[in-house]
């Protein structure tokens, strides 16, 4: 079996190499890096979903050295990151023209490297370092298009994000001084040593710090701007992958490391608020990318409240929805990006006449909208169904009503978009669909239908993933029990 450390070491190696090259070589290196990562992740996947792989670094055992925890959720996120990264890279090779491109590619690779690191690490300070790698490259990439909207969005993201990262650092150091360790499993074992007041304070710090990354309601002011202002290829990744990794880090800290179960009721309502306000804001939007951004935030709120409920069925659905939403929202942003590029119109009116001009794109857009809404038999249906059922089992009935009502709002604006796609005429011409758009869209469509018709494909990963998220003693045993 290959060592999972290569998932982080090799992209780093390639990222150091990319700035040296001009021309086609740098694109080949970028694609190669993602292909290698995808292959390694898939090779490791069957082992990791049954028994977490602990990788020690620098030959020191966990509490002394840093270790990687390659569990079911971590490896799934890693596959998602490298897969969507690969599709995004194919898209951006053709679509992104602003110089200096070699720096752009290196930043792109490093952002996804940071996300992989966040999902695999087993050490709280290391998590902070990878969080900074991810976010600093995201700030740079968001403002990369160097127009007003991108620069201002990048600045806003930077100010809020780095404030949050500092709060995370204070939280990390509070946990370190009270437990004397930085290893997640070690802290989880000794969390009883932490005084209640310090634990509450650290919880607030982590809530704010990671809540910013996970786009939680009062803290997500940066997200619509950043998703709108970033280059199209970056919006895809910010919405589909980076936010999921933030969510993962949040629950890794709250559930596994700090073992907080009594804050569940508060967290559910934060999730519901994120969902509801996201949907309401999306209803009013005229800008296509902004609408998709709010819709993506709302879905994150849904996932958030489902994990907060904490029944195994709800978590199962949430993990499934993480995969589904990564595919769906990535595809929607990709289509939106290519349409905006063709029509040079940021408004939702740019969708007019898409149905008659490009059937594939129109079909893919419809599938994306219906999948996000949760129409059977698309993949979104199964995950949403599981989440709602799980929440009802967890005695969270009132939130379920809110969710159903929010889905109604969601249906209104998504069906309006589909209506615009098929039933309104326009004179704008859409160019022939280039390979860079067609290939990712078709791959994602195949995956969506595959997961929609055969949701049982995910069973192994979901069963392992529920254990990974909810079972603290399993986590501790995996790290220390040999």
């Amino acid at each position: 079996m290959v060592s999972p450390i290569l998932l982080i070491a090799l992209p780093l190696f390639f990222a150091f190499l990319i700035p040296l090259f001009k021309g086609a070589v740098k694109s080949i290196i970028l694609i190669l890096a993602f292909l290698i990562n995808l292959t390694i992740s898939i090779l490791i996947f069957p082992y990791a979903i049954h028994k977490a792989i602990i990788v020690k670094i620098a030959n020191f055992l966990p509490p002394v050295g840093i270790n990687l925890f390659v569990g079911p959720v971590g490896i799934t996120l890693s596959i998602l990151i490298s897969g969507i990264g690969l599709l995004g890279a194919i898209y951006l090779l053709k679509m992104e023209k602003t110089p200096p491109l070699n720096r752009f590619y290196a930043l792109y690779l490093l952002m996804l490297l940071g996300a992989t690191g966040m999902s695999l690490t087993g050490d709280i300070f290391n998590m902070f370092v990878f969080l900074e790698i991810t976010t600093i490259s995201a700030y740079g990439l968001t403002s990369y298009s160097k127009n007003e909207i991108g620069l201002e969005a990048g600045m806003k993201y930077l100010l809020i994000g780095s404030l949050g990262a500092n709060l995370v650092l204070v939280g990390v150091i509070l946990l370190y001084t009270t437990t004397g360790s930085l290893n997640m499993a070690d802290i989880a074992m000794r969390i009883n040593l932490v005084p209640k007041a310090v634990l509450t304070f650290a919880f607030i710090l982590f809530f704010v710090g990671f809540g910013i990354e996970a786009e939680l309601f009062p803290l997500n002011g940066w997200a619509p701007d950043a998703l709108e202002g970033a280059p199209h290829s970056i919006s895809i990744l910010l919405s589909s992958v980076i936010s999921k990794v933030g969510l993962y880090a949040f629950f890794r800290f709250i559930i596994t490391v700090m073992g907080l179960t009594n804050v569940k009721d508060i967290l559910i309502w934060f999730g519901i608020a994120t969902l509801f306000i996201g949907e309401l804001a999306a209803l009013r939007q005229k800008s296509l990318k902004r609408l998709l951004a709010y819709s993506s935030i709302a879905q994150l709120g849904f996932i958030f409240s489902a994990i907060s409920v904490g029944t195994s069925l709800a978590v199962r659905g949430a993990l499934f929805h993480i995969v589904n939403h990564a595919l769906l929202s990535g595809m929607m942003f990709l289509i939106a990006g290519s349409i905006i590029k063709d029509t040079n119109n940021w408004n939702i009116e740019s969708l007019r006449g898409l149905g008659s001009k490009s059937r594939t794109l129109a079909f893919a857009f419809t599938i994306g909208a219906l999948g996000t809404l949760g129409f059977p038999p698309l993949n979104g249906f199964w995950s949403k169904f599981m989440m709602i059922l799980g929440m009802m089992k967890g005695k969270a009935i009132i939130p379920v009503y809110f969710i159903l009502f929010a889905s109604l709002i969601e249906a209104v604006y998504y069906l309006r978009l589909v209506y615009i796609v098929y039933f309104s005429k326009s004179e704008q011409s859409i160019n022939r669909m280039p390979f860079a758009v067609a290939f990712p869209v078709i791959v994602v469509l195949i995956l969506i239908f595959l997961l929609g018709f055969f949701p049982s494909l995910m069973n192994g990963m979901l069963t392992g993933g529920v254990k990974d998220v909810l079972n603290r003693s399993w986590y501790i045993m995996s790290v220390f029990g040999g």
């Binding site: 201002e152 806003k156 930077l158």
Partner: protein, 113 residues
């Protein structure tokens, strides 16, 4: 305790700067103060009464007399990360000034808060 107060003051002043000031450079100066304050906090947490620096420069030094070395290693990382964030922020500020000829956030649509 005086170190806690010092770091708390620095963090508070930095927060005040980030919340109240309108000039982008001033806001980033506030961010720098927060980072420095957090670093002072971390280092003061690792101090042990009567401890020496964790360097065995003389064979006579005993491990039991030393301060906690781990937070010092963390702060080394945190300082460098802080500089990286500031460099990124300032490059964006220069570009914003290029485009808009202003660094006042109340004149920038998306940065208003």
């Amino acid at each position: 305790m005086i170190f806690y107060i010092g770091s708390g003051l620095l963090i508070g002043i930095g927060l005040y700067g980030m919340l109240y000031k309108r000039n982008l450079i001033k806001i980033i100066i506030g961010l720098d103060f927060i980072e420095t304050g957090v670093n002072i906090l971390i280092i003061s947490l690792c101090y042990v009464k009567g401890g020496t620096a964790p360097i065995f420069s003389l064979p006579s030094l005993k491990p039991s007399q030393m301060v906690d070395p781990l937070p010092q290693a963390l702060v080394l990382t945190a300082i460098v990360i802080g500089v990286a964030v500031l460099a990124m922020a300032l490059s964006i500020v220069v570009r914003i000034y290029d485009k808009r000829k202003t660094m006042d956030i109340s004149k920038l649509k998306r940065l208003k808060w």
